[in-house]
């Protein structure tokens, strides 16, 4: 079993290496339909498909036997672990090894399914892109890194995958690097997450040094003092907030929309953002034991879910709407974790992974069709793109939490968990209120996006030239099959995943959620109905500005962090040139000055020399007499 897990992780890595190094060697054929090197397509799809097949086999193997506990443990009770080697560091050793648990099998399935879908979809989306080989290789590397996070048995090995994901997101967000804005977004994504990761690494140190092992199983088994656990989990939370885009480290995610749409689907649905939630669930006994950490998480989640939902309501860029909705939905998962229900969190993670990937891929098809990200350029697309319309409707229904779509069940599970949360009263109250209000706002922004994209008068104009970075020429047709197939397949779990009913449905709270969501949707519908060409977000009134700018957080960060650092950098250069090096040059000058003074004695006057000699002899004689 552990060999299979190792192969699952390694195959995409080898695919990435092959794709990067061998795609163009010796020419090779160019695929006529996709306009990219055929070999690159094979390197992209085959390893991921292999991983997917092996994952199925692993799931079948893991499903044997009986287990109790969380639903993933009863689905996949068989566990395994193995290690390749132990690296002696001089302190606590690193064990290079993997561990297969129920949770990792579950999340592993999600990862490979979405990754495979994205690889297939990208072949169509990046039609004729000369950088397709490196692009697909980075996706493979990304997949491999995420799978390493999922299956790793050691926290430091996990950290390797964790950081490599950050790198891949940097490379992929910056795929269209001709635009400096995209490049800046990529840098921002890497730096913000890396800031969180420093905390994460220190959290790993705290746990590892306290438990005398970096192995996850050893750490979970160790009896750690509460203070250590609280410190460590709070530090880990920094990394979780960075990767899972939680307040206050969420600002990179909306900007990350600069990348190609399939990347948005991959990063913002299934993999990188899921990693933060996954690691909390993986180490959940520690978080359960650390109530202060969960209080902090609850407050962060409460702020994040409502703030991001409001921001989503005011965006004009369809992908940014989805990005803010991702922050909001991830905050739901964080809320469930804070409330003490890892099951609800992972359930929502799974359904969200399916429906958000679906939404992004649909949005990609729409953008591909329209040639713009902006909803003000869309409208009336339901006739031109029937399949995309149907599938995206399913996605939005799931996002709003309408039955029978999957989101209805998982969101209900989260809210039920929050209602009965074991937290500090204030935090619990804040979280619950925020969760309910957010349900309404979610209904509102999802309805707005749906209406402005598919209904109303057609706004689409044919663009003369495709703008690099976003656009393709409007051709008035539905997307190519390589893009439609993944959409169609992802629609199934987005619709049906809820029926697994892994968590009991709480009918009372479900009814309340549904009413609130419909209320939000109804208000937007009423505003839209009154003037279909105008943006229903005008209902926000004076709050529209702050919401559209996400409450000016980027500006604040730029003022508080970025500018002082740059200012300090200038200061350092100045100090280096004047003070530190000035001292060096000053000592050089002082030496020269001194030598000029000493040179006065060397004036070539023999009388002076003889006088000096005599004076010296005299001094020595006197000295000998006095001291002797």
């Amino acid at each position: 079993m552990i060999t299979i897990a190792a192969l699952i992780v390694l195959l995409p890595f080898l695919g990435a290496a092959g794709g990067l190094l061998l795609s163009r060697v010796g020419g090779g054929p160019i695929s006529a339909r996709a306009g990219v090197p055929t070999r690159a397509i094979w390197f992209a799809i085959l390893p991921t498909a292999g991983s997917a097949l092996l994952t199925v086999w692993l799931a079948v193997q893991a499903a044997k036997g009986d287990g109790t506990g969380a639903f993933w443990d009863s689905w996949f009770p068989a566990e395994a672990s193995g290690q390749l080697t132990v690296v002696d560091t001089g302190a606590v050793p690193i064990s290079v090894g993997l561990a297969v648990t129920g949770l990792s099998v579950l999340v592993g399935i999600l990862v490979v399914v979405v990754a495979l879908g994205v690889q297939v979809y990208s072949v169509g989306y990046l039609h004729g892109d000369s950088r397709y080989p490196s692009y697909s290789a980075f996706i493979s590397l990304f997949t491999s890194a995420m799978l390493l996070v999922v299956y790793s048995g050691d926290l430091l090995v996990l950290y390797v995958g964790w950081e490599v994901m950050g790198l891949c997101s940097y490379l992929l967000i910056g795929h269209w690097w001709e635009e400096k804005a995209n490049s800046r977004s990529a840098v921002k994504a890497f730096l913000v997450t890396r800031l969180g990761d420093v905390g994460f690494l220190f959290g790993i140190f705290t746990l590892g040094m306290a438990a005398k092992s970096f192995r996850i199983s050893d750490i979970l088994a160790a009896q750690l003092p509460t203070a250590t656990v609280v410190t460590a989990t709070l530090l880990l939370l920094a990394g979780v907030a960075g990767k899972s885009a939680q307040v206050p480290l969420h600002t990179w995610l909306p900007d990350a929309m600069a990348g190609p749409t399939p990347i948005s689907a991959l990063i913002h649905a299934a993999t990188m953002v899921a990693a933060g939630i996954f690691i909390v669930a993986r180490l959940y006994p520690l978080f359960l034991a650390a109530q202060p950490t969960r209080d902090v998480l609850a407050v962060s989640a409460a702020l994040g879910m409502l703030g991001a939902a409001l921001a989503a309501l005011a965006q004009d860029d369809l992908k940014r709407v989805l990005a803010y909705s991702t922050i909001s939905q991830l905050a739901y998962m964080a809320a469930a974790l804070a409330a003490g229900s890892d099951e609800a969190a992972i359930f929502h993670l799974t359904t969200h992974g399916a429906f958000k990937a679906l939404l992004f891929l649909c949005a990609g098809a729409v953008i591909h069709h329209v040639g713009s990200n902006l909803m003000s350029r869309m409208g009336g697309l339901r006739a031109a793109m029937p399949l995309t319309f149907v599938t995206m409707t399913i996605g939005f229904a799931a996002l709003m939490g309408l039955p029978p779509a999957s989101g209805f069940f998982s969101k209900d599970a989260v809210i039920a968990a929050v209602e009965h949360a074991r937290l500090t009263d204030a935090a619990q109250l804040l979280l619950y209120a925020s969760a309910l209000v957010t349900v309404g706002v979610t209904g509102a922004y999802a309805t707005r996006a749906w209406l402005r994209t598919f209904f109303g008068p057609t706004q689409v104009e044919a663009l003369p030239e495709p703008e690099p970075g976003t656009a393709h020429v409007f051709d008035g047709r539905e997307a190519p099959p390589s893009m439609l197939w993944p959409i169609g397949i992802l629609a199934i779990p987005a619709l049906a995943l809820g029926w697994t009913s892994v968590v009991e449905l709480d009918l009372g709270s479900a009814a309340i959620d549904l009413v609130i969501a419909l209320l939000g949707a109804g208000v937007v519908y009423a505003f839209w109905r009154s003037a279909p060409t105008r943006d229903p977000a005008r209902l926000l009134g004076p709050f529209y500005g702050p919401c559209a700018r996400a409450f000016y957080l980027d500006t604040v960060y730029a003022m508080v962090f970025v500018r002082p650092v740059l200012w300090l950098a200038q200061g350092v250069v100045h100090t280096d040139a004047t003070l530190v090096d000035g001292a060096v040059r000053g000592s050089g000058r002082a030496t020269l000055g001194l030598s000029r003074f000493v040179r006065l004695a060397q004036n070539g006057n023999a009388q002076l020399y003889v006088t000096g000699l005599l004076a010296g002899v005299l001094l020595i004689a006197v000295g000998a007499v006095v001291l002797g």
């Binding site: 001089g90 490599v164 840098v187 890497f190 740059l566």
Partner: protein
């Protein structure tokens, strides 16, 4: 005695003799005049007399930047004269012949040395990597009790191989180019190699010092003759700075000798400071530490480094960053810490403090740099800060980290300087504003390699740069006995912030240089040439190997580290 270690020193020595003997008497009837004619510099920059009052300009990056834009002639950088640019006149044809002959001697010699170092790595007994192996102990100056004592253990072996590799790659790089005075350059590099390898093999304090000093002279000439615009000022600064450091170092070594009566490093290390009182230990550690810190360099003794790196030719920068800086840190691991444990314990907080200041300071300085080579030079200050932090923790993990980061920095920064040199040669400038951006579009392979090297240097896990930094921070989390834990926790947090700043300046640089739309009016020449690729691929490969398999290095250094700290594994 063992012939292998002697051979490692003798082969480059024979190479220098071959270069001396290979004066062109067989090629031209009048060697002296012909040589002097041929060795006339092709660029006016060489003939130019040293600027009066060789004060370094306050900001060489600023002073230099307009030059390539306004001057129609190619950059005065002498390595910036690729083979294609040479006119086929008889004298230059002969010059390129001679260039090839000299470089070939260098290539063969350094190749042989590399083979010997690989043989050394092969016969090395990995089961007892902590023990000194293949020792050679000959009387040298019996009157002074000086011995020609060489040996290799898990700490020095990787450094010896790294030195041989980098020197060989430098010759490989030179083989594809035409440089002025090729024979002299080859001679200087081979002498440099003797000094560097000797430093890592020496087991006698004074022998160590001698090799340590041997390195300075050829490096001075490499900078002063083949350097860029302000090379003289930079070279003088380099030599004065390091000579001053060496003087202090010698004082410290003599204190040890005066206290113990022996210069044998193995014996001294085995005593763990027994026989030296606390105060002399502190004094000796201070003196030796200062001397080594100049070389490392440690903040605030670093200002020679940016100037030297900016002005040095590519191969000079590579060896300077790749090996010379390591001689300073190697001294900490080999002499200062094992021989003077009490001195180390007393001064470790200061060492740690200067190290983290260097990390933050170096990173901030990088953020504001405009010159690519200068930025990489400052990044060395930051990276060596991690190495020093590792030493300052006085824990096995910290010292392992320092030794790992040493090697990783040599590989990665060596690669970075190769790439920066290639960029400067193609664009005629290393000023980031003048470079313009869009390198990934104009020179995709060079741009990709630069991206790789930067990512490796910012410490991405899975590449060699990560493990050293991470373990240094881990060491600071739980410092050695007797050290203040809160203080080191502060150091750890500062180091963590330093890693973010490191990522920031590298990514901002990549964004400025490799991303964006290229300026189509700039002529940039060809993408990576085969000989360049041959010189760089080994570095890329080793960066990956040690990143993915850190055990390869850690299993070598760990036993030795346990031994020098006197603690059981």
């Amino acid at each position: 005695m063992n012939w292998l270690l002697i051979a490692l020193l003798a082969v480059p020595g024979l190479g220098t003799l071959a270069l001396l003997a290979g004066r062109p008497s067989t090629q031209t009837p009048a060697p002296a005049t012909a040589a002097s004619q041929i060795e006339q510099p092709p660029s006016p920059a060489l003939a130019e007399p040293p600027a009066p009052g060789t004060e370094p300009t306050p900001s060489p990056a600023l002073a230099e930047s307009p030059a390539p834009v306004t001057e129609p002639t190619p950059s005065p950088s002498l390595v910036a004269a690729p083979a294609s640019g040479i006119e086929p006149t008889p004298s230059s044809a002969r010059a390129s012949d001679r260039s090839r002959a000299a470089t070939r001697i260098g290539l063969v010699t350094s190749g042989l040395t590399l083979v010997l170092s690989i043989v050394l790595a092969a016969v090395f007994d990995y089961g007892s990597a902590g023990r000194m192996q293949l020792e050679t102990n000959l009387a040298w100056i019996p009157g002074l009790d000086l011995r020609f004592h060489l040996g290799v253990d898990g700490i020095s072996l990787p450094l010896v191989v790294l030195t041989a590799l980098l020197t060989f790659l430098c010759f490989g790089y030179l083989a594809g180019q035409t440089t002025p005075r090729p024979r002299a350059l080859a001679f200087a590099l081979l002498v440099l190699e003797i000094g560097m390898i000797g430093t890592f093999l020496a087991l006698d304090l004074l022998l160590f010092f001698v090799f340590f000093e041997v390195v300075l002279i050829p490096m001075y000439f490499v900078i002063a003759i083949w350097g860029g615009h302000d090379r003289r000022a930079a070279a003088i600064k380099f030599i004065l700075y390091t000579l001053l450091g060496s003087a202090v170092l010698l004082l410290g070594l003599l204190v040890i000798y005066a206290q113990t009566g022996t210069l044998d490093m193995v014996q001294l290390a085995a005593r763990h400071g027994a026989g030296i009182a606390r105060t002399p230990q502190i004094l000796a550690f201070l003196a030796i530490g200062l001397g080594l810190a100049v070389k490392t360099p440690m903040w605030p003794l670093h200002t020679w480094l940016p100037d030297a790196h900016t002005e040095a030719p590519t191969v000079g920068s590579v060896l300077l960053a790749g090996v010379l800086l390591k001689m300073g840190t190697y001294g900490f691991a080999r002499i200062a810490i094992p021989v003077l444990p009490e001195g180390a314990a007393a001064l470790a907080p200061w060492l740690g403090a200067f190290a983290v200041i260097g990390i933050i300071y170096g990173s901030l300085a990088c953020l504001a740099q405009r010159d690519l080579k200068r930025m990489i030079a400052y990044s060395s200050v930051g990276h060596m800060g991690f190495v020093l932090l590792g030493f300052a923790t006085l824990t096995p993990v910290g010292i392992n980290a320092a030794l790992f980061a040493n090697i990783a920095h040599g590989l990665i920064t060596g690669l970075l300087f190769f790439l920066a040199g290639a960029i400067k040669e193609r664009y005629g400038t290393a000023d980031m504003t003048a470079l313009g951006g869009g390198m990934l579009a104009r020179l995709p392979h060079l741009g990709s390699l630069l991206t790789f090297a930067c990512i490796a240097s910012l410490g991405l896990p899975g590449l060699a740069g990560f493990w050293g930094e991470m373990l240094a921070l881990l060491g600071a989390y739980q410092p050695g006995a007797g050290q203040s834990r809160p203080l080191f926790l502060v150091f750890m947090v500062c180091g963590g912030i330093g890693t973010v700043l490191t990522a920031a300046y590298f990514l901002v640089m990549l964004s400025r240089v490799t991303h964006g739309r290229p300026d189509e009016t700039l002529a940039v020449g060809v993408d990576v040439r085969p000989f360049e690729l041959a010189a760089w691929v080994p570095l890329v490969a080793l960066t990956l190997v040690f990143g993915l398999w850190p055990k390869g290095l850690l299993s070598l250094t760990a036993p030795a580290v346990h031994l020098i700290l006197g603690v059981g594994p």
